[in-house]
């Protein structure tokens, strides 16, 4: 047995925390994208507003889900930043000649080297994103009618945001960071949990690229689609 505090802060244990919270966030993001795909339906936003109304119908239970999600994000960020700081301390004196990859089996890349950079960028993105679409949604004035009931017209909010090229650029840029973070993160999470055997290693690394690509393209397409197609 290992005391909980020790288990959560040891080099191996802290990666369990990062991995499990990371995988939970990937699962959330997949659901998030599936829901957002309704934005691609060319019906003036009716499908999307119906989808959004479903969340409203949840009532207070929605807050429970949101707080849970927020907790996972906070845990992932706290452990990630603490780990990165510790890693920095592990090599106080840097190499004069920067260590580029020796190739072969190494996964050293822009993605794997900069997890803390892409992670912090995503943290900043999240603050803006939550303000942009979650907090502001409470104050939406336009309404739309769904099955005879009045609902906030969230499609109008999204549509207005993505008619602005600056917002489009911001979201597209943020998704690049997201893609790089996932490219290494997905594979790394499974390796850190030990969910790996020699025959799987290459496949899971390739799957990481596929997951990152599909999610990034899926999300990136939304602002671009609304901006260019309407």
């Amino acid at each position: 047995m290992i005391p909980l505090k020790r288990a959560l802060s040891s080099p191996t244990g802290r990666k369990f925390v990062m991995s499990i919270s990371g995988i939970a966030l990937v699962l959330f993001v997949i659901v998030h994208l599936l829901g957002n795909l309704t934005l691609y339906v060319p019906d003036g936003g009716e499908t999307f507003n119906r989808y959004a109304a479903g969340f409203e119908a949840m009532g207070p239970f929605l807050y429970v889900i949101e707080l849970g999600l927020l907790a996972v994000i906070v845990i992932h960020m706290t452990w990630g930043i603490a780990t990165a700081l510790k890693n920095r301390k592990a090599r106080p004196e840097k190499y004069a000649e920067s260590v580029d990859s020796k190739g072969g089996p190494s996964n050293l890349s822009l993605a794997s080297k900069n997890m803390i950079v892409t992670g912090v960028a995503l943290g900043i993105f999240l603050v803006v994103h939550i303000w942009h679409f979650r907090i502001r949604k409470v104050y939406v004035a336009e309404t739309t009618e769904i099955d005879g009931n009045e609902h906030a017209d969230l499609y109008a909010l999204v549509h207005a945001a993505f008619s602005d090229p600056l917002w489009v650029a911001f979201y597209v840029g943020a998704m690049l960071f997201f893609g790089f973070h996932l490219r290494h993160g997905f594979w790394s999470a499974l390796q850190s949990l030990g969910a790996m055997k020699p025959e799987w290693s290459k496949g899971i690394y390739a799957l990481g690229f596929f997951v990152a690509l599909v999610l990034t393209v899926g999300f990136m397409g939304i602002p671009l689609y609304i901006y260019f197609v309407g």
């Binding site: 047995m1 290992i2 020790r6 288990a7 040891s10 080099p11 191996t12 244990g13 802290r14 990666k15 369990f16 780990t83 510790k86 890693n87 301390k89 592990a90 090599r91 106080p92 004196e93 840097k94 190499y95 004069a96 000649e97 920067s98 260590v99 580029d100 990859s101 020796k102 190739g103 072969g104 089996p105 190494s106 996964n107 050293l108 794997s112 080297k113 997890m115 290494h184 594979w187 790394s188 390796q191 850190s192 949990l193 030990g194 969910a195 790996m196 055997k197 020699p198 290693s201």
Partner: protein, 253 residues
């Protein structure tokens, strides 16, 4: 033969002691035989330095056959140089080009403090091994040969992990200065074998925690360690260590 001789420019880290300020010194070595190992080339430089009454460049070496793990430093930003699966004693000057400038620095990690020049203190590795990288043996009568059966596939995997010579290149190459490959190799080697199994939980706990105490970084699964390892030990052993640790969180053994 004389036509093949090379001229090499060296930029070597010189540091008089653990608490002294280090700096790079430039040396030009002429008439380098391309069939010399990197260490033999440094031997020649040191002969000249000693002849001129200067302090020779301090570096560790022992067997010079690539099997003891004593030698090792960073050449042009790569642990043991650019060639894969080799130690600096088995790295030959022919892999460099005539007139090349070569940057030579010690392993850099908080847990590997510099003692002098290219020599670092790797006692932290010994303390990780001492924390659990062994099998406690009861002193009874000698068991019959082959009384303990080990499958060929298992013994091969354990042997691959046991190939670690403890040189420290994994730590040196890791962007986080993590000792996960070194520790993982020992944890998984012993956990696979029947003799090591009774202590597997205790071993995983103690070795991982000792690794943390020593101030090594945390593994980010970048895999540069495997690329730098002269014995090409796989990071599958790190995954195995994670499983051993996960098991050890919940069990007493």
């Amino acid at each position: 033969m004389a036509d093949d001789m090379m001229t090499i420019h060296l930029k070597v880290w010189r540091q008089a002691g653990p608490d002294k300020q280090g700096r790079f010194e430039n040396y030009t070595v002429e008439k380098v035989n391309p069939h010399m190992s990197f260490l033999e080339m440094l031997d020649v430089v040191n002969e000249t330095l000693i002849h001129d009454g200067e302090e020779p460049i301090e570096f560790d070496s022992d067997c010079r056959e690539g099997i003891c793990g004593t030698c090792g430093f960073v050449i042009n930003g790569q642990a043991h140089g650019e060639e894969r699966g080799t130690t600096v004693c088995q790295l030959h000057m022919r892999s460099f080009s005539d007139g090349e400038t070569i940057v030579v620095e010690p392993w850099r990690a908080r847990a590997f403090p510099v003692i002098k020049d290219l020599v670092v203190d790797r006692d932290s590795f010994d303390r990780i091994i001492a924390a659990g990288g062994y099998v406690s043996v009861g002193t009874g009568p000698k068991p019959d040969a082959n009384s303990v059966k080990i499958g060929k596939d298992v013994s091969d995997k354990a042997f691959d992990a046991a190939a670690c010579i403890g040189c420290g290149a994994c730590v040196a190459a890791c962007p986080n200065a993590s000792a996960a490959l070194f520790t993982g190799a020992k944890v998984s080697q012993l956990a696979m074998l029947p003799q090591g199994k009774p202590e597997r939980g205790r071993r995983a706990r103690r070795m991982v925690h000792q690794m943390q105490e020593e101030g090594f970084g945390n593994c980010s699964n970048i895999g540069e360690c495997e690329a730098a390892c002269p014995k090409e030990i796989s990071i599958q052993n790190i995954a195995k260590m994670k499983r051993e640790y996960l098991r050890a969180i919940f069990t007493d053994s």
